[in-house]
Amino acid sequence: MKKLVSAPALFIGAGAFLIVGLLLGFWWAPVDSSSMGFSQKIFYYHAPIAETSLVAFGIAFVAAILYLRTQDLKWDRLGYVSVRLGLLFAVLVMLTGMIWGKASWGTWWAWEPRLTTFLLVCFLYAAYWVLRSVVDEEQRRATYAAVFAIIAFVDVPITFFATRFLPEGLHPAVITSGGTGMEGSMFASFMISMVGMTLLLVALIRRDLEIEDLKDRVTDLKTSLGG
């Protein structure tokens, strides 16, 4: 089917960046000098995934505003596709963050700013889905979802700042980029993986949108045949 032939190019591009970033991160960048040591290498994908999930929610935010202005359901569609992917990435952030935490601190969980923020982000956007599931009428569902997507996204940076007020627990070190600063090679590997992850997000969004279009086509055909 012609439409989906274009998508592989994006996936291949994304994959290329991701693989290069990974290889550079492991073989070129030095092993971290802090107590984390080798486990710091998780960072090369963990941080890009975190940024990408926030990008996805940002896309949903813009799509929500556009929907409210135009009432065109295609923006609603972009919105929920982005939120779904953003949620997937956010869960991955949590899982990799927990693994990294186990390696660094010895426990699977810590109430530290980044993990807590992403936990809340997961709850926030899970609420988005619950909201969608309890409204039956299409335009109203899109409207409510858009309002919530806007509010939720605005709440994300606020939540991050709020977690700074929490008292330092047993795990003082926030997962930073491996210390006071990143070496050039670490930074380069990280940036390449970032580009790759963002391309991957775009490719997945595009693919999901095309699947939705396919679903529409099936429904249209069924209606014209059966109706």
Partner: protein
Amino acid sequence: MTVAEGAKYVAAAYAVILAALLIYYFMSARRVAVLQRDVELLEDEAKRRQAPAGEAE
């Protein structure tokens, strides 16, 4: 923590990422296959229904 131990955690993290992405991709690939087949079947059916009408004229 030795490099060997650290490597196990790193491998676990990347494995989780890879698994999640692959599962997502393949689930959507299955969806695509099913939908494409549906589209083909429905389009064939539509053509079939038009043909007899055309012949009757």
